[in-house]
């Protein structure tokens, strides 16, 4: 079952979007792809710098939050940077 695949298939498998950095795919559990009533704002399309800055401020508590403070504290500066770049482009 641990079958390796021939080159042609490998090309196919890697053709999709760049692999998400750790944690990045969890954001879409709450952040919708497009603006939705009552939901937090979509992340795709926001500048990566703004997303990273907001995450830093949630982490330090500088920016008030219901839940993002508790989430942001789980990520390092490097992780936040990588996530911000990926979610800004996703979809």
């Amino acid at each position: 079952m641990r079958r390796l695949l021939p080159a042609a298939v490998l090309v196919l498998l890697s053709a999709g979007a760049a692999a998400a950095p750790p944690g990045a795919e969890a954001c879409s559990g709450c952040h919708p792809a497009t603006r939705a009533e009552g939901a937090p704002p979509p992340l795709a399309g926001q500048p990566a710098d703004d997303i990273a800055a907001a995450m830093q401020d949630f982490r330090t508590g500088q920016r008030p939050a219901t839940v993002m403070d508790r989430i942001a504290k789980g990520f390092t500066d490097e992780e936040i940077r990588a996530i911000a770049v990926w979610v800004a482009r996703a979809q």
């Binding site: 939901a39 508790r70 789980g74 990520f75």
Partner: protein
């Protein structure tokens, strides 16, 4: 009739791996079309894998927010999601039940076999009838568990509606682990809300096989504020553990409580296909590798969602959805012969204690020493001293979460 020679040629074509066959897309079968399985199937499909999703039901009935259905605050219709969104993207959905797993193929109840290079099991839970003496399937028609959303949810709602004012509602809550740790307490809250609004002379007794539970401080604070004298919680240490069911009564070591409406949340285990595949251990749940979600017992078979033993992660729809994405990425890497990246996962469970009063618990997780552990310093519950406006905001975010996640998974 084709000639004997032509048949032999055909057989030859199957037996000898011609380049065209060798380049076929890798095949992954996903069993179970819930939050875990439907998410995983879609992610694998988008990564270029030939995926088949196996699910016996024509539509999925979601448990999150089903407590609001029990309390008459929502209709069951709002919980039902079809598979058209997946089919529109050309994910193959086979309406059947998986009954066994052979080497490299899933066996279906309908008699078919689905070959795979890797298999993902996301069967959710089975209620273990008989684990609580006297509680079997016919009794569940009188004393609904409502722990799988659908007819059981409606049954419990209707029994509450039919009960006269002054009646006694009794809930039985199991020991860990079970699906949705805060779920029983959200249900108790919303049933109390229903009683307070419609039948204020009723009482709700919550008999618990545990002494502590998820978001306990927040729940108890809200109960004291919103439902004083109506809702009583009896922990294990005060004799709360239900040891059996007799007639209309729930039995503990200390008393026999006759209920006008009983809601028994029974012990649970991974859906039966997990054990049939050899992926479940003696606990009834499935040990997994925390990076790939591959079974510790059955190589090539991955287990996600409620069925898996996911360390510090609770059994939630949020967790099943996140695990499905991590598992899909790992399966793609493994099929490519690459090393999967160590994941970071998030969970958030919202609970309603009243329609406009929401609380949450969050966690961030990483793989360490063979299991999923909490990232220290992150996560936790909503603050105990928040204003009612914050609780209302969290209730609104809870509903938005449900719309967002069901849209992403089934839309």
């Amino acid at each position: 009739m084709p000639s004997r020679r032509a048949v032999l040629a055909l057989l030859g074509a199957v037996a000898i791996p011609l380049p065209a066959f060798a380049q076929a897309k890798p095949r992954v079968v996903v069993v179970g079309g819930g939050f875990g399985g439907a998410t995983c199937a879609r992610a694998l499909h988008r990564a270029g894998i030939a995926v088949t999703l196996v699910e016996p039901n024509p539509a999925y009935t979601a448990c999150p927010f089903s407590n609001a259905v029990v309390a008459g605050l929502r209709e069951l219709d709002g919980q039902v999601f079809g598979y058209d969104g997946l089919k529109r993207e050309d994910v193959i959905v086979v309406q059947d039940r998986a009954v066994g797993v052979e080497t490299g193929a899933v066996v279906l109840a309908g008699g078919g076999r689905l070959p795979f290079d890797r298999l993902v099991l996301a069967p959710g839970i089975d209620v273990v009838f008989g684990a609580l003496p006297g509680y079997d399937e016919p009794v569940a028609e009188r004393m609904p568990h409502a722990w799988k959303a659908g007819p059981q949810t409606v049954l419990l709602r209707d029994k509450l509606r039919a009960m006269p004012d002054g009646g006694m509602v009794v809930m039985s809550v199991p020991a860990n682990p079970y699906r949705c740790p805060p779920g029983p307490y959200e249900r108790a809250s919303l049933i109390a809300h229903y009683l307070k609004t419609h039948k204020p002379r009723c009482k709700l007794l919550v008999l618990d096989a545990k002494d502590s539970f998820s978001k306990q401080k927040l729940f108890q604070q809200a109960w004291a504020e919103l439902y004083p004298g109506l809702l009583e919680w009896v922990p294990l240490s005060a004799g709360g553990k239900v040891t059996g069911v007799e007639g209309d009564a729930l039995v503990t070591d200390f008393q026999r409580v006759t209920a006008d409406v009983a809601n028994v949340i029974p012990p649970q285990r991974a859906g039966a296909i997990a054990a049939a595949a050899g992926a479940a251990d003696r606990s009834g749940w499935c040990p997994i590798d925390p990076v790939t979600f591959e079974s510790r017992q059955r190589p090539g078979v991955h287990v996600i969602g409620d069925a898996a033993i996911a360390g510090a992660m609770p059994k939630s729809a949020f967790a099943a959805n996140g695990q499905a994405k991590v598992c899909a990425a790992a399966v793609v890497a493994l099929l490519r012969g690459a090393a999967p990246d160590p994941p970071k996962l998030i969970n958030t469970c919202y609970s309603l204690v009243a329609p406009d009063y929401g609380i949450s618990i969050a966690g961030v997780y990483r793989a360490a020493e063979g299991r999923l552990v909490d990232v220290e310093g992150a996560g936790g519950t909503s603050p105990p001293d928040a204003a009612r406006s914050v609780r209302a905001q969290e209730a609104a975010y809870a509903e938005a979460w449900f719309r967002t996640i069901t849209g992403a998974v089934f839309g």
